[in-house]
Amino acid sequence: MTTKSERDPLQPLFGTLSLLFPLAALVLVAGAALGVFRSLRGSVCFPAPGWTIPSEVEPASPLRQGARVSRLDFGVCLDQPTLWERVLGCLVAAPVLLCTAGALYLLLALLRRAAADGVHTVGTAARVRRFGLYVLVAPPVASLVEAAALRSLPQHAVTRDLGGPDLFAVWDFPWWAPFVGLGMMSLARIMSASAEMREDLEGTV
Protein backbone atom coordinates (compact mmCIF):
# COMPACT_ATOMS: atom_id res chain seq x y z
CA MET A 1 0.00 0.00 0.00
CA THR A 2 1.32 3.43 -0.92
CA THR A 3 1.39 5.97 1.89
CA LYS A 4 0.85 9.70 1.40
CA SER A 5 4.50 10.57 2.13
CA GLU A 6 5.65 8.10 -0.57
CA ARG A 7 3.41 9.81 -3.12
CA ASP A 8 4.37 13.35 -2.12
CA PRO A 9 6.83 14.58 -4.77
CA LEU A 10 8.29 17.12 -2.33
CA GLN A 11 9.51 14.42 0.03
CA PRO A 12 12.02 13.58 1.40
CA LEU A 13 13.64 16.95 0.58
CA PHE A 14 10.93 19.07 2.23
CA GLY A 15 10.90 17.05 5.44
CA THR A 16 14.67 16.89 5.71
CA LEU A 17 15.15 20.59 4.99
CA SER A 18 12.37 21.60 7.39
CA LEU A 19 14.13 19.60 10.08
CA LEU A 20 17.68 20.74 9.36
CA PHE A 21 17.11 24.35 8.29
CA PRO A 22 16.92 25.95 11.76
CA LEU A 23 20.20 24.33 12.81
CA ALA A 24 21.94 24.93 9.47
CA ALA A 25 20.79 28.56 9.32
CA LEU A 26 21.90 29.12 12.92
CA VAL A 27 25.37 27.67 12.23
CA LEU A 28 25.82 29.60 8.96
CA VAL A 29 24.53 32.95 10.23
CA ALA A 30 26.36 32.58 13.55
CA GLY A 31 29.57 31.77 11.65
CA ALA A 32 29.17 34.85 9.48
CA ALA A 33 28.21 37.02 12.47
CA LEU A 34 31.20 35.78 14.45
CA GLY A 35 33.54 36.57 11.55
CA VAL A 36 32.05 40.04 11.17
CA PHE A 37 32.15 40.65 14.92
CA ARG A 38 35.81 39.64 15.12
CA SER A 39 36.67 41.86 12.17
CA LEU A 40 34.82 44.84 13.60
CA ARG A 41 35.95 44.56 17.23
CA GLY A 42 39.42 43.03 17.50
CA SER A 43 42.25 42.24 15.15
CA VAL A 44 41.50 41.40 11.54
CA CYS A 45 42.90 37.92 10.91
CA PHE A 46 42.79 36.20 7.57
CA PRO A 47 44.41 33.27 5.77
CA ALA A 48 46.97 34.15 3.14
CA PRO A 49 46.93 31.26 0.66
CA GLY A 50 49.65 31.45 -1.94
CA TRP A 51 51.58 34.16 -0.09
CA THR A 52 55.00 33.75 1.47
CA ILE A 53 55.13 36.24 4.33
CA PRO A 54 58.08 35.89 6.69
CA SER A 55 57.35 36.33 10.40
CA GLU A 56 57.80 39.78 11.93
CA VAL A 57 60.63 38.44 14.12
CA GLU A 58 62.75 37.60 11.08
CA PRO A 59 65.24 40.18 9.85
CA ALA A 60 64.03 42.37 6.97
CA SER A 61 60.47 41.17 7.50
CA PRO A 62 58.10 42.94 5.13
CA LEU A 63 55.31 42.99 7.70
CA ARG A 64 54.17 46.49 8.56
CA GLN A 65 53.88 47.69 12.15
CA GLY A 66 50.80 46.19 13.81
CA ALA A 67 50.76 43.16 11.55
CA ARG A 68 51.83 39.69 12.66
CA VAL A 69 51.84 36.12 11.43
CA SER A 70 49.33 34.14 13.46
CA ARG A 71 49.75 30.41 13.77
CA LEU A 72 46.45 30.24 15.64
CA ASP A 73 44.53 31.70 12.69
CA PHE A 74 46.79 30.07 10.05
CA GLY A 75 47.42 33.43 8.44
CA VAL A 76 48.12 37.07 9.16
CA CYS A 77 46.56 39.42 11.71
CA LEU A 78 46.28 43.20 11.59
CA ASP A 79 46.13 44.43 15.18
CA GLN A 80 45.25 48.05 14.38
CA PRO A 81 43.21 47.79 11.20
CA THR A 82 41.73 50.76 9.38
CA LEU A 83 38.00 50.90 8.69
CA TRP A 84 38.54 49.63 5.14
CA GLU A 85 40.64 46.72 6.42
CA ARG A 86 37.82 45.86 8.84
CA VAL A 87 35.37 45.92 5.92
CA LEU A 88 37.69 43.62 3.96
CA GLY A 89 37.86 41.34 7.02
CA CYS A 90 34.05 41.14 7.04
CA LEU A 91 34.04 40.38 3.31
CA VAL A 92 36.46 37.50 3.85
CA ALA A 93 34.26 36.01 6.56
CA ALA A 94 30.63 36.47 5.60
CA PRO A 95 29.50 36.37 1.92
CA VAL A 96 29.62 32.62 1.16
CA LEU A 97 28.08 31.67 4.51
CA LEU A 98 25.25 34.19 4.09
CA CYS A 99 24.78 33.15 0.47
CA THR A 100 24.44 29.51 1.54
CA ALA A 101 21.97 30.45 4.30
CA GLY A 102 20.01 32.50 1.72
CA ALA A 103 19.91 29.56 -0.70
CA LEU A 104 18.60 27.22 2.01
CA TYR A 105 15.96 29.78 3.03
CA LEU A 106 14.84 30.31 -0.58
CA LEU A 107 14.65 26.56 -1.13
CA LEU A 108 12.60 26.04 2.02
CA ALA A 109 10.26 28.93 1.11
CA LEU A 110 9.90 27.45 -2.38
CA LEU A 111 9.03 24.02 -0.99
CA ARG A 112 6.55 25.49 1.53
CA ARG A 113 4.72 27.44 -1.18
CA ALA A 114 4.77 24.39 -3.46
CA ALA A 115 3.27 22.29 -0.65
CA ALA A 116 0.55 24.91 -0.12
CA ASP A 117 -0.25 25.84 -3.74
CA GLY A 118 0.66 22.59 -5.50
CA VAL A 119 3.75 21.47 -7.36
CA HIS A 120 2.31 21.74 -10.85
CA THR A 121 1.44 25.43 -10.83
CA VAL A 122 2.77 28.34 -12.84
CA GLY A 123 3.68 30.11 -9.57
CA THR A 124 5.84 27.21 -8.38
CA ALA A 125 7.57 27.08 -11.76
CA ALA A 126 8.32 30.81 -11.52
CA ARG A 127 9.74 30.34 -8.02
CA VAL A 128 11.94 27.44 -9.20
CA ARG A 129 13.21 29.72 -11.98
CA ARG A 130 14.05 32.48 -9.49
CA PHE A 131 15.82 29.97 -7.24
CA GLY A 132 17.82 28.72 -10.25
CA LEU A 133 18.81 32.29 -11.07
CA TYR A 134 19.94 32.81 -7.47
CA VAL A 135 22.03 29.63 -7.54
CA LEU A 136 23.48 30.62 -10.92
CA VAL A 137 24.57 34.09 -9.78
CA ALA A 138 24.89 34.33 -5.98
CA PRO A 139 27.52 31.67 -5.12
CA PRO A 140 30.01 32.76 -7.83
CA VAL A 141 29.56 36.42 -6.87
CA ALA A 142 29.87 35.71 -3.13
CA SER A 143 32.99 33.61 -3.64
CA LEU A 144 34.44 36.28 -5.95
CA VAL A 145 33.89 38.96 -3.30
CA GLU A 146 35.60 36.75 -0.71
CA ALA A 147 38.47 36.04 -3.09
CA ALA A 148 38.93 39.74 -3.91
CA ALA A 149 39.00 40.61 -0.20
CA LEU A 150 41.35 37.70 0.49
CA ARG A 151 43.62 38.81 -2.36
CA SER A 152 43.63 42.38 -1.13
CA LEU A 153 44.12 41.98 2.62
CA PRO A 154 47.71 40.56 2.65
CA GLN A 155 48.84 43.64 0.70
CA HIS A 156 47.69 45.75 3.65
CA ALA A 157 49.92 43.75 6.00
CA VAL A 158 53.22 44.34 4.25
CA THR A 159 55.41 47.34 3.53
CA ARG A 160 56.50 46.28 0.06
CA ASP A 161 54.86 44.53 -2.84
CA LEU A 162 55.31 40.78 -2.47
CA GLY A 163 53.46 39.89 -5.64
CA GLY A 164 51.27 37.11 -4.37
CA PRO A 165 48.79 34.96 -6.27
CA ASP A 166 46.42 36.51 -8.77
CA LEU A 167 42.71 36.75 -8.12
CA PHE A 168 41.78 33.66 -10.12
CA ALA A 169 44.23 31.53 -8.14
CA VAL A 170 42.53 32.63 -4.91
CA TRP A 171 38.98 32.41 -6.29
CA ASP A 172 37.46 29.10 -5.28
CA PHE A 173 34.91 29.13 -8.10
CA PRO A 174 31.85 27.01 -7.30
CA TRP A 175 31.72 24.99 -10.52
CA TRP A 176 28.51 23.29 -9.47
CA ALA A 177 26.60 26.60 -9.37
CA PRO A 178 26.21 27.24 -13.14
CA PHE A 179 25.20 23.64 -13.77
CA VAL A 180 22.70 23.49 -10.91
CA GLY A 181 21.41 27.00 -11.66
CA LEU A 182 20.89 26.38 -15.37
CA GLY A 183 19.43 22.95 -14.58
CA MET A 184 16.89 24.52 -12.22
CA MET A 185 15.96 27.11 -14.84
CA SER A 186 15.42 24.37 -17.44
CA LEU A 187 13.38 22.39 -14.93
CA ALA A 188 11.30 25.53 -14.31
CA ARG A 189 10.49 25.74 -18.04
CA ILE A 190 9.38 22.09 -18.06
CA MET A 191 7.29 22.70 -14.91
CA SER A 192 5.72 25.78 -16.47
CA ALA A 193 4.68 23.77 -19.55
CA SER A 194 3.29 20.97 -17.38
CA ALA A 195 1.41 23.51 -15.23
CA GLU A 196 -0.25 24.94 -18.34
CA MET A 197 -1.17 21.42 -19.47
CA ARG A 198 -2.63 20.73 -16.03
CA GLU A 199 -4.75 23.89 -16.23
CA ASP A 200 -6.02 22.78 -19.65
CA LEU A 201 -6.81 19.35 -18.24
CA GLU A 202 -8.66 20.80 -15.27
CA GLY A 203 -10.74 22.99 -17.60
CA THR A 204 -11.71 19.98 -19.72
CA VAL A 205 -15.33 18.90 -19.32
Binding site: E202, G203, T204, V205
Partner: protein
Protein backbone atom coordinates in the same frame (compact mmCIF):
# COMPACT_ATOMS: atom_id res chain seq x y z
CA UNK B 1 -12.66 34.84 -31.07
CA UNK B 2 -14.73 32.90 -28.56
CA UNK B 3 -16.71 29.70 -28.48
CA UNK B 4 -20.11 30.21 -26.91
CA UNK B 5 -22.02 27.42 -25.19
CA UNK B 6 -25.80 27.52 -25.49
CA UNK B 7 -26.58 25.02 -22.76
CA UNK B 8 -28.89 27.47 -20.97
CA UNK B 9 -31.09 27.94 -24.05
CA UNK B 10 -31.22 24.21 -24.86
CA UNK B 11 -32.14 23.34 -21.25
CA UNK B 12 -34.87 25.99 -21.21
CA UNK B 13 -36.30 24.80 -24.57
CA UNK B 14 -36.45 21.23 -23.27
CA UNK B 15 -37.67 22.16 -19.78
CA UNK B 16 -34.77 20.31 -18.24
CA UNK B 17 -32.67 21.24 -15.20
CA UNK B 18 -28.91 21.02 -14.94
CA UNK B 19 -29.27 18.27 -12.32
CA UNK B 20 -31.44 16.16 -14.62
CA UNK B 21 -28.99 16.62 -17.47
CA UNK B 22 -26.15 15.70 -15.15
CA UNK B 23 -27.86 12.41 -14.28
CA UNK B 24 -28.56 11.61 -17.94
CA UNK B 25 -25.07 12.31 -19.32
CA UNK B 26 -23.01 11.17 -16.31
CA UNK B 27 -21.16 14.46 -15.94
CA UNK B 28 -21.09 16.25 -12.59
CA UNK B 29 -23.25 19.33 -12.05
CA UNK B 30 -20.07 21.25 -11.27
CA UNK B 31 -18.54 20.40 -14.65
CA UNK B 32 -21.79 21.15 -16.48
CA UNK B 33 -21.92 24.46 -14.64
CA UNK B 34 -18.34 25.20 -15.78
CA UNK B 35 -19.42 24.44 -19.35
CA UNK B 36 -22.64 26.47 -19.10
CA UNK B 37 -20.86 29.53 -17.73
CA UNK B 38 -18.19 29.51 -20.44
CA UNK B 39 -15.32 28.66 -18.11
CA UNK B 40 -14.40 25.35 -19.77
CA UNK B 41 -11.13 25.29 -21.72
CA UNK B 42 -11.96 22.10 -23.62
CA UNK B 43 -14.76 19.57 -24.08
CA UNK B 44 -14.30 15.84 -24.64
CA UNK B 45 -15.99 14.22 -27.66
CA UNK B 46 -17.56 11.74 -25.23
CA UNK B 47 -19.15 14.60 -23.23
CA UNK B 48 -20.32 16.29 -26.42
CA UNK B 49 -21.82 13.03 -27.68
CA UNK B 50 -23.63 12.41 -24.37
CA UNK B 51 -24.97 15.98 -24.32
CA UNK B 52 -26.18 15.78 -27.92
CA UNK B 53 -27.93 12.48 -27.16
CA UNK B 54 -29.55 13.77 -23.97
CA UNK B 55 -30.63 17.08 -25.51
CA UNK B 56 -31.42 15.59 -28.94
CA UNK B 57 -29.38 18.21 -30.73
CA UNK B 58 -26.34 18.67 -32.97
CA UNK B 59 -22.97 19.99 -31.73
CA UNK B 60 -23.69 23.18 -33.70
CA UNK B 61 -26.81 23.75 -31.60
CA UNK B 62 -24.74 23.57 -28.45
CA UNK B 63 -21.68 25.53 -29.57
CA UNK B 64 -21.18 28.57 -31.76
CA UNK B 65 -18.14 30.58 -32.77
CA UNK B 66 -18.20 34.33 -32.30
CA UNK B 67 -15.64 36.88 -33.49
CA UNK B 68 -14.61 39.51 -30.89
Amino acid sequence: MTIRVHLDRLLAERGMTLTELSERVGVTVVNLSVLKNGRARAIRFSTLTALCQALDCQPGDLLSHQRD
